[in-house]
């Protein structure tokens, strides 16, 4: 099984095997049809969703009905809206019942200005949910110390942010990501702030196991085309990582062509 995994370059999270290293969010799309088509174009196998209270008057806009019918998709509810561990734990249990999936993205960001994840509440929620058997995927600040603590309490992966949600500021946390990657023994998935496929490729090149994008696709001019572009970029980045990037020079040049006189006979 492990050899087959390596041949297909599958990755394993929480005991579940996936071939796609692109995760997709479903927020901010103009309409359900575009969202579903973008998810399909992305090849994503893990797709995040959120929970909201049902209104008194049941609404007909069922964004997610079509999504549930797609084969090979694991729905991952997030706990967005939760301001603390207790609310996140409650949301996780609701999400598990509704999705029938043990995956949960622990997402606790109490400040709407920057939407930065609360490290303390996230740790607490992750600890409890991991003990309850959830496949805990914590959305987290790109902090290598927190990463180790989350790994130690049973998280299935780490989801450090690239930059603030929806900001499109890319891999602002690149140096911290390198530190996290160095010591992580569970998959590292860059989540939030990506804007361009080249950033996703860069994340995979440096050794991240996957990326999660939402705004980068949903707010693109052509979300379906952008989703496909991200899929290609993630594959290119991953293939490059496996191929081994050339050593980086110290600033001086290293010629690739022989440094003899131009077109001279050898020795003359």
């Amino acid at each position: 099984m492990e050899r087959q995994d390596k041949a297909q370059d599958a990755w394993v999270v929480g005991g579940h095997r996936f071939s796609s290293r692109l995760l997709m969010g479903t927020g901010k799309f103009q309409d359900a049809e575009t969202m579903v088509r973008a998810v399909l174009a992305s090849g994503a196998q893990i797709v995040t969703v959120a929970l909201r209270r049902v209104g008194r008057i049941p609404r007909e806009d069922d964004m997610l009905g079509p999504l549930g019918e797609l084969k090979g998709i694991t729905l991952m509810p997030n706990t967005s809206g939760a301001r603390n561990a207790s609310e996140a734990i409650r949301a996780a249990r609701l999400g598990r019942e509704l999705c029938g999936s043990p995956f949960v993205k622990v997402e606790i960001h109490p400040n709407p200005h920057h939407l930065m994840p609360d490290p303390i509440e996230t740790f607490e929620a992750a600890r409890i949910l991991a003990a309850e058997g959830f496949v805990v995927m914590p959305y987290m600040p790109a902090d290598p110390v927190l990463a180790k603590r989350l790994e130690d309490v049973g998280c299935a992966s780490l989801m450090p942010l690239g930059s603030a949600i929806g900001s499109g500021r890319g891999l602002a946390t690149v140096e911290m990501l390198r530190l996290i990657l160095r010591d992580a023994r569970i998959p590292v998935i860059v989540d939030a702030g990506l804007r361009s496929p080249s950033e996703a490729a860069a994340a995979l090149e440096m050794g991240c196991d996957a990326v999660l994008v939402n705004s980068a696709v949903a707010a693109a001019g052509d979300p379906v085309a952008m989703a496909a572009a991200f899929a290609q970029a993630v594959k290119a980045g991953r293939d490059a990582h496996r191929a081994g990037l050339m050593p980086q020079g110290g600033g001086t040049a290293l010629a690739t062509s022989p440094l003899t006189a131009f077109l001279s006979e050898e020795g003359q």
């Binding site: 969010g25 479903t26 969703v49 049941p58 509704l98 949600i165």
Partner: protein, 66 residues
């Protein structure tokens, strides 16, 4: 029966079970999850789950999110 549904006072005519309440609200067949007094009620238990005066019922559905 007086209940609190999604934080608001609600007078339920049908209250013999959570399922009955959902049908009264027109959410019978819809994909929602029910929390009763902060406890998640598995969908398989809804028809057997009774309601009492003052119970807090919350209903959630899936929406798009990142």
């Amino acid at each position: 029966m007086k209940l609190i549904v999604n934080g608001e006072a609600y007078e339920a005519k049908r209250h013999e079970s959570v399922s009955a309440l959902l049908e009264e609200m027109g959410i019978g067949g819809r994909p929602v999850v029910v929390a009763l007094n902060d406890e998640v009620i598995p969908s398989s238990s809804r028809s057997a789950c009774g309601l009492r005066e003052g119970d807090r019922v919350e209903l959630f559905r899936l929406v798009g999110g990142g």
